[in-house]
């Protein structure tokens, strides 16, 4: 049986400062080595000052993944030499003295399958290595410490996945969950990273590292399963090892054989006393925690009669969910949900578009209420929505500028219909034979009225004129 486990690294991008110093948590805007201080470059004499919010956010992740949370958390040193690691040890968590990392023994259910979470721990990100020079021979490794000390939460699952598809579903749900919690922005490059481990029936566990994206991880796992199965079929033993994903060739390759076994010499970080987490801490955070995606989804369906499919889309995307929460009332909820998941989605489907969008929740309320009061057609609403996103203008302004107000006066619609009936003799004939094709003519009328004709009134008049029901 195939077993797959994951190790996910999630940067707490929504924090202001790094894990142990006051440098900025979001290092992306800085030129090399300008977001550094004595602490995050590990200068002699500097000491780590643990970020309170990082512990809170990590606690939230732990609770959201149904983990057990300890009464005291401890920090440990993981010792190894690498140029991007300024102290040549990483401050992380470890369970040498019983469970003292921020969470353990959690679970989430995906498509009816329970995935167990082994451990959740807080740790610091290393810096970044870049290479100057083109050929492999002349390359100079250079270190940028801007990222060093960025707060990370590592989530380790049990090997509970059976196939890459489950991995994908899990990661999608996890991304939504982390975003919904307000702990991390998954659209930021490098904010979420995952390593995997794979074993097939009759073989040992293989770790896969160096995977740039979740998408690649799925491919790498897929490749590994196929590779391992073919080894088993040929009776070639699978030796436990770490393999790297080669993004160019789309294969995994054995990481260079280490001349030494890794021994991280974990021991307690004396500079950070154990942090006591009393029930008040958990209670306070539970109150602060946003409603879970599952609970939102359920509420949308049950309270507003929104369809399962729409509720799914709406609840799992924090941007949409937040807009919905702010703009709806009991009467217009369903319509707002529809507008968001059909029309708005096309206008704000990337991080950049969302950042530049001028749409507010007031816009949305106004727009949907106008549709419901027949002041504007659904069609015109879409045009207005796009205008709101790009200019932030009010509905009234847009209606008057673009002449979008609803045409619901019977004689105007009637004369447009007459024009259409004259122009579309063939279609008229067809509708008379097959009344269900009447929508073709409705569409023509809408087009002629620039989307402003009231659709239900149009249909009624058309039916009357053509003598169909």
């Amino acid at each position: 049986m195939t077993k797959i486990g994951l190790e996910i690294h999630c940067q707490l991008t929504n924090l202001q400062s790094k894990l142990f110093c006051s440098c900025k948590a979001n290092y992306r805007e800085f030129s090399p080595n300008t977001n550094i201080c004595p602490i995050c470059v590990g200068l002699p004499g500097s000491l780590p000052m643990l970020n309170q919010k990082a512990v809170e956010k990590a606690t939230m992740i732990s609770m959201a993944l149904n983990c057990k949370t300890p009464e005291k958390i401890a920090f440990f040193r993981k010792n190894y030499f690498y140029p991007d690691l300024p102290k040549n040890f990483q401050i992380t968590q470890f369970d040498a003295y019983g469970p003292t990392s921020i969470g353990h023994d959690g679970k989430i259910t995906i498509e009816g399958k329970e995935i167990r979470i082994r451990r959740i721990q807080i740790e610091e990100d290393p810096g970044r290595l870049i290479y100057e020079g083109t050929s492999e021979k002349t390359q100079i490794p250079l270190v940028d410490y801007n990222r060093a000390g960025t707060p990370l939460v590592e989530i380790v699952t049990e090997p509970d996945f059976d196939n890459p598809k489950q991995v994908r579903v899990f990661l999608n749900i996890l991304v939504d969950l982390l975003e919904n919690l307000g702990v991390s922005d998954p659209t930021l490059e490098g904010a979420l990273r995952a390593d995997g481990n794979v074993s097939v029936e009759g073989g040992n566990k293989i770790e896969i590292k160096n995977v740039a994206s979740f998408h690649d991880l799925e491919k790498a796992i897929h490749f590994e399963i196929t590779r391992q199965q073919s080894l088993v079929e040929r009776n070639i033993p699978i030796i436990s090892e770490t393999r790297q994903w080669d993004d160019r060739r789309k294969i995994t390759i054995s990481a260079r054989k280490k001349e030494e076994e890794q021994d991280y010499r974990y021991f307690l970080e004396g500079d950070i006393p154990w942090v006591k987490l009393n029930s008040d801490h958990f209670k306070k955070l539970r109150e602060k925690m946003p409603e879970s995606i599952a609970s939102k989804r359920e509420r949308y369906v049950e309270k507003y009669g929104i369809t399962n499919q729409v509720a799914d889309v709406l609840s799992s995307d924090k941007y949409y969910a937040d807009l919905f929460e702010q703009s709806h009332d009991e009467k217009n909820a369903k319509e707002i949900a529809n507008i968001i998941t059909t029309d708005l989605m096309g206008f704000v489907d990337t991080r950049e578009k969302r950042e530049t969008s001028k749409l507010t929740h007031q816009h949305l309320t106004e727009l949907v209420n106008s549709i419901m009061d027949n002041k504007i057609t659904r069609n015109s609403a879409k045009t207005a929505l796009q205008e709101m996103v790009s200019t932030g203008k009010s509905l009234i302004e847009i209606i008057s500028e673009q002449d979008l107000d609803n045409v619901s006066d019977e004689s105007t619609i009637s004369s447009i219909i007459n024009e259409v009936l004259n122009e579309e003799a063939n279609a008229v004939q067809e509708v008379k034979e097959k009344p269900e094709t009447v929508n073709f003519l409705v569409g023509k009328v809408m087009k002629k009225s620039k989307g402003k004709a009231d659709p239900s009134m149009t249909l009624n008049i058309l039916k009357k004129k053509l003598g169909i029901t």
Partner: protein, 490 residues
Amino acid sequence: MSGHQSWFDLNLGISALKYIGEIKNGNLTAEEFISKTIERIQKVDSKLHAYLSINEQAVEQAKSIDKKIKAKENVGACMGMPISIKDNICVKGTKTTCASKMLEDFIAPYDATVVSKLKAEDTIIIGKTNLDEFAMGFTTEFSAYGPSKNPWNTEYVPGGSSGGSAAAVSALECIASLGSDTGGSVRNPASFCSVVGLKPTYGLISRYGLISYSNSIEQIGPITRTVEDTAFLLNIIAGMDPHDNTTIDNQNENYLNDIDSGVEGKKIGIIKEMTHEGVDKQVSAATNKAISNFEGLGATFEEISLDMVAYSVAAYYIITATEAGSNLARYDNLRYGYDFDSEGYEFNSYLSKARKNFGPEVTRRMILGGFVPSAGHAGKYFLKAMKVKSKLTAQVNEALKKVDMLIAPTVPILPFRFGEKIDDPVALFLVDINTVTANLTEKPAISIQFEISGGLPIGIQLLGKSMQDKMLLQAAYALQNTVKLPEVPI
């Protein structure tokens, strides 16, 4: 007051408190005192090698303080008093070498918290003092820049690792000094050089800017010629620091107030394991005399046994090696260190070459630090050491429920000659047996100069309850006033 004191009879041996009084009275200027101190350093330090570097701006700084005093501007409490700083504590813009070739070119870009606090009180940092490389040792013989000498007899070690600090204070090359104490590194040289040395409660003084050796047990501590001066410095440097997560709120305790309250009615425990076996006869006699002096002041005594003391030195070396192995891993010479180009080297081989600049003792401790906490050996060594630490702490806590403080000689033996113990690591281990307990248990402990025996100093150590550093200073003050010691011969 008798007007201006002459240049020549200016006494460099005055205490910090006396110095401040003389400055306030106008009998002395900071410039006079600093100039004279520098003259003294020039005269004796070629023999003692207490300093690794001297502040070239000291006289200028003294002048500007004098100007402020004259203009009746606000002046800090130290009024230009010269203080030296162990060279493992960062002073902004100056070399901080840890007496290692590894940090030959390291210039600290910031001040340690203790240094900022001293500067804010108009202290003049007169220079950086010598130590065993990275504070690993008890003689200063492991300094990469050569040992310091004992001012009482330059053929003898000054103790360590803060040997430069203790020698400088003892030889009147400064009024006071800050050292660091990981297993006795303040108290041991204080005892060997006949001065006062305090290892405060863990967390009382910020370690920000102290270059870590074994961060879970070490503290910065003052070295002074009088107990009052230690109390005075503690008032300045103690307290919570937003740069050190392990500091404790001391409620702005004033350690100088009521320093003369005495020991009447106090119960003192004599630590059995530190006062009998392996204790030199003269040291033993001095300890008994100290006990009887205390009795004369109204204290009572009982013997206390702490059987974990027998394992304390092993536990101490295992814990310190483990932490040092990790703390010193950052010295890979990539970001700072000394001049050695990495061109043409592979990462690991460059590190191994660059780190050859560690001296022999540091090299050995690094290897120990790689060995005792490793996956295959942690159970036998590191975890056991941590448990000994815990059990020792429990035993000391238990004892301090029965008595107010504990007493023992600071070092069981007299100062010894250079080269005498350096070749036998286990013999050198046992020099620490009386001092490591305070570090392992986070307790405050102070060494007070008590006797000069055959020309060699003997110090007495008191160990107190956590955050009761003040009670310890009061007792030390009382003991100090029962003896009159000769002046330093150099």
